[in-house]
Amino acid sequence: MGLRAYVVRRVLQLIVTFWAFFTLLFVLFRMMPGDPTSMFIMDGMTPEQREQRIAELGLDQPLYVQYVEYLQQLLTGDFGQSFIYNDPVIDIITVRFMNTIVLMGTALVIAYVIGIAFGALMGWWRDSRFERGGIIVTLMARSSPEFWVGIVLLSVFVFWLGWFPSSGMRTTGGELGGGFVARYGSLDFLHHLFLPALTGAIVYLATPTLLMRSTMLDVLNADFIEIKKAEGLPERTVLYKHAARNSILPIVTVAAIATGAAMGGSVVIETVFNWPGMGREMVSAVNQNDYPLAMAAFFLMGSVVIIMNFVADLLYVYLDPRVEYE
């Protein structure tokens, strides 16, 4: 099978995966107890108002009708109206999605830059005290749940030292809205971003570090190093070139998958630091039975994961010609 046929097949599979994923979501959310009127009932909504609201939302329709309608909507790129906010879901979620991407993207970039350097050094100085210490530190970071890292950082840098703000994404009272640069370019934003991004970076640091270390070890063990050295190239150059070449493939694949996984994990960091991101929005939407909003958030997070896995597969094939298309 050629590359093109392989890609076509993978794209078809991707579509099937998306459909199955969507259906799973729909079923899951409709099984949830409660409905979007529950939260108003204790605040004075009468039974008549409630019935009218349920009908307005279309929740009195048979399930399959709701399913087909929602699927049609989604195919036209419409996520529907939020039950609770009464606004288009897309308006609510775009900003949240960007906030999450900026946070987790920063965390991952830091993790991969530091991790690659750190791992390479660990391999370079193998069997040294540095390597042994490095492995322990790395595994320690990997063994810590995100919320735990967040709480430790919060205790030290906010409660104790008072260096950073305790929550949020910017100082309140300023001009709202504005473009991408206005939102994410200010010093104030970076000040707020630091701790949550660091939390993510620590948690995601282990994978690239360990991967880079073992790649480095492989390269160091390989016979061709000796040959190249015999050809008169300096050891450092040889190592650098080959380590880089050999590590690109696994690092890129793992990074793609980690990006996906980070989306799901963002909810914890967002909770600890009150970051206005999508994970938090999803949890509150679940708690309020706002299906369109919760499903859209879930769907977007899942899509990132699915697409990243897909990209990882393609990259793998593209970067490593030895892989059979099967």
Partner: protein, 556 residues
């Protein structure tokens, strides 16, 4: 209201007492398990079936940590009495759905909020206990039906004379106490923390604390940025007064929109957009008020009687709020006077209708179809209230600014509302200087910290609403008043207030809070924790216990 210093000493004393009480309780429990039945109370000799297991629905620790803790204390006590208890912790929405909508529960621990409109006893007496309201989603969740009571609940609506109505409300409370369709546990007042170094003139009021309208227009920033930053543990859903509004939404809608009357600090409706008390004629069938002549909307247009008339028509057409004004037959205007003709007598008319209908600008809402009302987006949310809308980013901040042309200009130029993940987070932000006030009761640990912090202070307030256990009287054995009374004896109200809430709030035995002084009946039958009394109640009603201390029906 007590001075903060006084409340500190009072609290310390009570805290000691609470701890002693708890230790005593533990000891008595230990004593109980040693004996055969634990007490001298003997039930029926011939036993029939076991009394079925009680499905007790309670909030998760995340939904309400205090009540979550109380639920496990209640579970222990009820099992001690001889019941089998299946405690289920649910998130708020699922809880309300299971209990209030589906009514699929035996007993449920929930709270009923005390907003200012509920200082008038109508909601607590009629909506919550009259047998007309037992349907799914209705207020009478227990499904309790009592003919004599129903008559009183109907009578009080038609009594414009406050003293007469008071007597009726008193009698009604006695019947409720005797029958215990619910266990009325505690009015959950407490403290709202604020930064006394940054804000002054806070004005916590009955039932609402710092969430009150009066506090928000009174709070004055001390530093020069003239901004008050207010934190609340959930986001506002909408500022559209025509949508179904949750309590936090109303707290801000009413800053932007005015009503003819506002519920005052003491719970009595005060003239707001009108010049004085309503003139009530025809035996309570017509109400006449005169509109002030210095009113404008935020966009500069005058607010006139036409806008008022338009508003009441708009409400009548609204699918969501039609019910609120259905008691009005007709609205007349003459000059600056507005007359409301009622279909029937409705004693709480001023508080519950004139005090709740927000006045809309006809020039903005005039063309909106009734079915579009809830979805209508007025970008500027033009009202006439003391604050006007500036900007809003969900989950981040809502910005309001003072409306200088209002007859009650607020003390802060800017008022910012910040939604937090939860109360703990907001207290952290308060301590870090990121916000100035929190409209939620923190955990006792945070209360202690705020007390010790020079920059922070606590605003104390009392509650009108209460935490309660509702019994599903549609089911056995809760249709038996003796069982409900016995279960009420098993609820550790004192421990809840003094230990679990660390002295915040007050124990209650009736549906009207003691802080709602005029309507509260202080002489109703009281149910304080007393497991022996619970067993006696059951023994007298013919129940009995087996050797494992399990409660059975009697054989007769």
């Amino acid at each position: 209201m007590e001075m903060p210093e006084d409340s500190t000493t009072r609290r310390t004393v009570l805290k000691g007492a609470g701890m002693a009480g708890v230790t005593g309780l533990t000891a008595s429990l230990a004593g109980c398990t040693g004996g055969e039945n634990g007490t001298d109370v003997d039930g029926a000799d011939e036993l029939a079936d076991e009394v079925p297991e009680i499905h007790l629905v309670a909030p998760t620790a995340g939904a309400n940590p205090f009540r979550n803790e109380l639920a496990s204390a209640i579970e222990e006590n009820w099992e001690e009495i001889g019941f089998e208890v299946n405690l289920e912790n649910l998130q708020f929405n699922a809880h309300v759905d299971t209990v209030v909508v589906e009514q699929d529960y035996d007993a449920s621990l929930l709270g009923w909020g005390g907003t200012p409109e509920r200082i008038d006893p109508h909601t607590f007496i009629y909506d919550m206990h009259h047998s007309d309201n037992t349907q799914q989603g209705g207020r009478n969740t227990p499904g309790w039906e009592h003919d004599e009571y129903d008559e009183l609940a109907e009578l009080q609506v038609t009594q414009p004379d406050r003293e007469e109505r008071q007597q009726t409300v008193y009698d009604a409370q006695e019947i409720i106490a005797e029958n215990q369709p619910r266990t009325y546990i505690a009015n959950e007042g407490g403290y709202h923390p604020y930064a006394s170094a940054r804000v002054e003139n806070v004005d916590p009021t009955l039932g609402e604390g710092l969430n009150s309208f009066w506090n928000m227009i009174s709070a004055t920033p001390i530093d020069d940025d003239d901004t008050v930053r207010f934190g609340y543990p959930s986001e506002i859903i909408s500022l559209n007064p025509m949508q179904d509004l949750a309590t936090p939404d109303r707290q801000f809608v009413r800053l932007i929109y005015d009503q003819l009357f506002r519920i005052g600090r003491d719970g009595i409706p005060e003239p707001w957009l009108v010049t004085g008390e309503p003139e009530i004629e025809d035996g309570g069938m017509t109400y006449t008020v005169e509109l002030r002549d210095d009113l404008t909307f935020h966009d500069g247009e005058d607010l006139t009687v036409d806008d008022v008339e338009f508003t009441y028509e708009l409400y009548a057409d609204s699918p969501t709020y039609g019910g609120l004004v259905e008691v009005i037959d007709e609205v007349d205007t003459a000059g600056n006077e507005i007359t409301f003709h009622l279909e029937e007598e409705f004693a709480p008319f001023t508080a519950n209708v004139l005090g709740q209908v927000y006045i809309f600008p006809e020039h903005v809402w005039g063309d909106v179809e009734p079915e579009e009302l809830t979805d209508f987006e007025d970008e500027n949310w033009t009202g006439s209230g003391p604050f006007q809308f500036r900007d809003w980013e969900r989950q981040a901040e809502l910005q309001l600014e003072a409306f200088d042309d209002h007859f009650e200009t607020p003390n802060a130029d800017q008022f910012i509302r910040i939604p937090g993940e939860d109360t703990s987070q907001l207290v952290n932000d308060l301590e870090a200087g990121q916000i100035d006030m929190v409209g939620a009761v923190p955990q006792p640990t945070a209360v202690d910290r705020a007390r010790d912090d020079d920059d922070l202070d606590l605003a104390e307030f009392n509650a009108v609403g209460y935490a309660m256990i509702e019994y599903n009287t549609r089911r056995e054995p809760f249709d038996d008043v003796a069982v409900r009374r016995a279960l009420s004896y098993g609820v550790p109200k004192e421990e809840y207030v003094e230990f679990i809430r660390d002295g915040m709030g007050t124990v209650t035995h009736t549906t009207i809070s003691e802080h709602n002084e005029f309507w509260h009946n202080p002489d109703v039958e009281e149910f304080t924790e007393d497991l022996d009394a619970a067993r006696e109640e059951l023994a007298d009603a013919g129940y009995g216990w087996d050797d494992d201390n399990r409660l059975h029906y009697g054989a007769e």
